[in-house]
């Protein structure tokens, strides 16, 4: 069985805040909620730690999408740093568009430590959205099928 014939499985990098969304992930785990195995989480102390380069690094290294998650506005463990994450998120979306990456490949999710269920269901939604977008051609131009995606993008 060769790669071309296999169904596309998106890979998503998720940045989580140590105080809320990472614990939401833990909670989803302890509650045995099921979600798509396509996501790989990275723990930061705060969504404010998110350096935009992390996102592009992820895309460059072959991620099909990136999820940034932090505490709900007003609930930041460090007072207000999640607002900075929000600002960077909005900027990132614009830059992505300019670079020819569908902005839909970047998602921002507010999830408190208690919201394991929301965390899980949002991941599922996002993975499906990315699946429908198809593989990110930017990172792997050599990947067969990317031309068609380019055309779709033009259309």
């Amino acid at each position: 069985m060769t790669e071309e014939t296999k169904p596309f499985e998106p890979t998503v990098i998720g940045f989580t805040c140590n105080w809320c969304s990472y614990r939401a992930a833990d909670m989803a785990g302890t509650a045995r909620m099921k979600y798509a195995p396509n996501i790989r989480l990275i723990r930061l102390m705060c969504s404010g730690r998110l350096d935009p380069t992390f996102v592009f690094k992820a895309f460059a290294s072959g991620a099909d999408a990136v999820m940034i998650s932090g505490c709900h506005p007003g609930d930041c463990h460090y007072v207000e740093q999640n607002y900075k994450a929000l600002r960077r998120f909005l900027l990132l979306k614009r830059v992505m568009a300019q670079l020819g990456i569908e902005p839909a490949r970047l998602k921002l999710l507010w999830a408190s430590a208690a919201e394991g269920a929301i965390f899980a269901s949002e991941i599922n939604k996002f993975v499906e959205e990315v699946r429908s977008l198809g593989p990110l051609n930017w990172a792997r131009p050599e990947k067969p099928g990317s031309e068609t995606i380019l055309e779709e993008a033009k259309a």
């Binding site: 785990g29 195995p37 989480l41 102390m45 072959g62 900075k84 430590a113 208690a114």
Partner: protein, 669 residues
């Protein structure tokens, strides 16, 4: 130089091994990640067991490991365990990384192949990251010996006394004029039927007289700065309009005060108090409060009866609210609960049908010091009920209101049934879904009630109405319910209905949680650090919770939590200093351009700017390690220990190392 890395994959019994092919993961790591520096890769049944730890320590010594990666459960559970193991073997604990393949993998995925692939990705991500770890020393900060306890209910009282008795200073802040909380309002306690006040007031008095306790009633916390060991808490003392240093609590002022006010707090609206008042006779402190919303002087500018009659001129109408700031090392939140508002269920008739009472109202009716002098009578104040219906689960176990069980209502209802039966001989019906009596002596109490001939109808009450259909219902309250044990709808006429309203989180618990930097569950209870193993600590170092603020519970459980929280705090104080994660930002002066962007990014003002050298510098004592400045620095001059760019960028690489061949991985078997 290349590191010598040891990789350890945990089975966690079948928790991980049941879904992830651990053997293949460790085999793969040993082979594929050899170039990264992995010299040994093992899988073991329970890495966290002493044998598992010894395994790591042995390797560190024999294999000369310079880095350790454990793939097991969440770092929030066992990071310390493995770091200490490394430390024990002479490896700097911060050169060890724990990644989660349980909470984030085996527990949330069912597809074994995909889960195994993900475990490999997570492992390689961890390996790539741990390479860039540096040897660190934990930051040691002194712990201030004083403690702040918020909430003067039984949980807060217990916590305050435990700590104070151990010889440490305590600030006890209470929003109301007196401590005592809900327990002071109750008549008897289940199942022993002790007089609630009799067992509570001695503790209240102790608090009032304790040399180590600074009691701040009629006060609220405004602001919390700092972090574990060194909190600075700003407290607002509302004006009492009483010079407490002069007041003797003689009571003349409230005798003379002409203004009656309905007491919605302590008497649950059943009785009156004056505009100058103490909530109840045994109040601590004994000083009254002038309620400036209702006081005639503040409404009309005249009266001052209290001032005229006060023998010690302790009245001061010009008192203003004052703010004080206290230094504490730890904080215990025991802010209690609110009662579910039975008006939200119109079909139960509370507020429209006179003789429907809430459980708190009934506590006051039963209480000898209450509005009816302890006589169980209807709203008219004289008629003794012949039949009484007690409705369980009001607002609890109901997705339209609160989905959880309020834990105490069953026993409270049984207590009511007993008191009614004992004092009036009335016939008592209990309407329940399930009777829950899980603690010591509780089931025995239930059986005692059965012996007493109390009637039990299994069914959640559908409605309480006064619409009579047959003569015998005329003038009565009719409780309509399915008796589920016989499968018939019944209409049972009674004289009095008692609604066992459930507990819910304080209306402002979310704001309070935010104030102290802890989190709330969906239904607004404070979240404990671990539901089973750490019920009184929170995710935030130095902040503990006790009593109903954490979830519905009865008096013994609240007392136990108060004591437990106190014990945790005293343990911390005894250590004199607390070691903090050395997760801090540091600025490389040579790279800093002095643009000062980071200065405004920091919410803790931890970054100061040296005008002379035109560079910024981080004050490690104030830095909390959020890393926002690290991400924000355009010159890349700031690095964050524990979460450096190298660590995260290489973790990304590691995580994605496999994903191009994801499909190939997912077909191997």
């Amino acid at each position: 130089m290349s590191e010598r890395i040891g990789v350890y994959i945990c089975h966690c019994g079948t928790n991980i091994a049941g879904v992830v092919d651990v053997a293949s993961v460790s085999k793969w790591a040993g082979e594929e990640l050899a170039d990264e520096g992995v010299v040994i890769s093992r899988d073991y049944k329970f890495m966290c067991s002493s044998l598992g730890q010894e395994l790591i320590q042995k390797d560190i010594k024999e294999q000369k490991l310079t880095r350790v990666l454990v793939a097991a459960c969440s770092p929030h559970l066992h990071e310390k365990t493995f770091r200490n193991a490394c430390k024990g073997a002479g490896l700097n604990p911060y050169l060890c990384e724990l990644v989660s393949i349980r909470e984030q993998d085996s527990w949330v995925h069912t597809d074994k192949v995909a889960a195994t692939a993900k475990a490999k990705a997570i492992t390689s991500g961890g390996v790539a990251r741990v390479i860039h770890h540096e040897a660190l020393e934990p930051l040691l900060v002194p712990i201030h010996p004083a403690t702040l306890v918020v909430g003067g209910g039984i949980a807060g009282i217990q916590a305050a006394l435990e700590i104070a008795d151990a010889g440490f200073p305590v600030y006890l802040v209470e929003r109301e004029p007196s401590i005592g909380g809900h327990m002071a309002q109750f008549d008897k306690t289940f199942p022993t039927l002790d007089c609630s006040a009799c067992i509570l007031t001695p503790k209240m008095v102790d608090v009032g007289n304790h040399p180590n306790i600074t009691l701040l009633t009629w006060s609220e916390v405004q602001k919390v700065d700092g972090f574990v060991g060194n909190f600075a808490v700003t407290i607002k003392k509302k004006p009492r309009y009483i010079k407490t240093e002069d007041c003797t609590g003689c009571g003349i002022c409230w005798e003379k005060c002409p203004k009656k006010v309905i007491d919605n707090v302590f008497e649950a609206g059943m009785g009156n108090r004056k505009a100058v008042y103490v909530p109840f006779p045994q109040a601590v402190p004994k000083y009254p409060v002038i309620d400036d919303v209702n006081c005639t002087y503040y409404l009309k500018g005249t009266c001052k009866a209290c001032e005229k009659f006060c023998p010690t001129n302790a009245i001061d109408f010009n008192q203003k609210a004052e703010e004080i700031t206290v230094e504490v090392g730890n904080i215990i939140l025991a802010t209690g609960f609110d009662l579910f508002d039975a008006r939200r269920i119109p079909q139960y008739g509370y507020g429209t049908l006179a003789n429907v009472f809430t459980n708190l109202e009934f506590e006051r009716i039963c209480n000898a010091a209450g509005p009816t002098g302890g006589n169980i009578v209807l709203r008219d104040g004289k008629t003794v009920p012949k039949t009484v219906g007690i409705v369980h689960c009001v607002g609890s176990r109901d997705r339209n209101y609160n989905v959880y069980c309020s834990a105490i209502c069953c026993m409270q209802s049984l207590k009511f049934a007993h008191l009614v039966h004992e004092r009036t001989g009335a016939e008592v019906y209990n309407f329940y879904i399930d009777i829950r009596t899980p603690s010591k002596g509780y089931e025995e109490f239930y059986q005692r009630l059965l012996e007493e001939g109390t009637r039990f109808v299994r069914g959640k009450v559908a409605e309480v109405t006064n619409a009579a259909r047959v003569p015998e219902e005329a003038g009565k309250l009719i409780i309509q319910v399915e008796d589920t044990l016989i499968g018939k709808q019944r209409r049972i006429p009674v004289d009095m209905v008692i609604l066992s309203s459930g507990m819910q989180a304080r209306y402002d618990s979310k704001e309070v949680a935010k104030l102290f930097g802890i989190s709330c569950s969906a239904d607004a209870w404070y979240i404990e650090r671990h539901p089973k193993l750490d019920p009184v600590a929170t995710m935030t170092e130095g902040i503990y919770i006790a009593g109903c603020a954490q979830g519905p519970k009865d008096i013994p459980a609240s007392v136990a939590q108060g004591a437990a929280a106190a014990a945790r705090v005293m343990g911390k104080i005894q250590q004199k200093e607390v070691s903090l994660e050395p997760v801090r930002a540091t600025i490389n002066a040579d790279q800093c351009s002095g643009c000062r962007i980071c200065n405004n990014l920091c919410p803790f003002n931890a970054i100061l700017f040296h005008e002379d050298q035109m560079v910024s510098e981080v004050n490690p004592a104030l830095c909390q390690g959020c890393g926002t400045c690290v991400a924000g620095c355009p010159a890349g001059a700031i690095s964050g220990t524990g979460f450096s760019n190298e660590q995260i960028l290489s973790q990304i690489d590691g995580l994605l190392m496999l994903n191009r061949s994801y499909a190939t991985v997912s077909v191997e078997k």
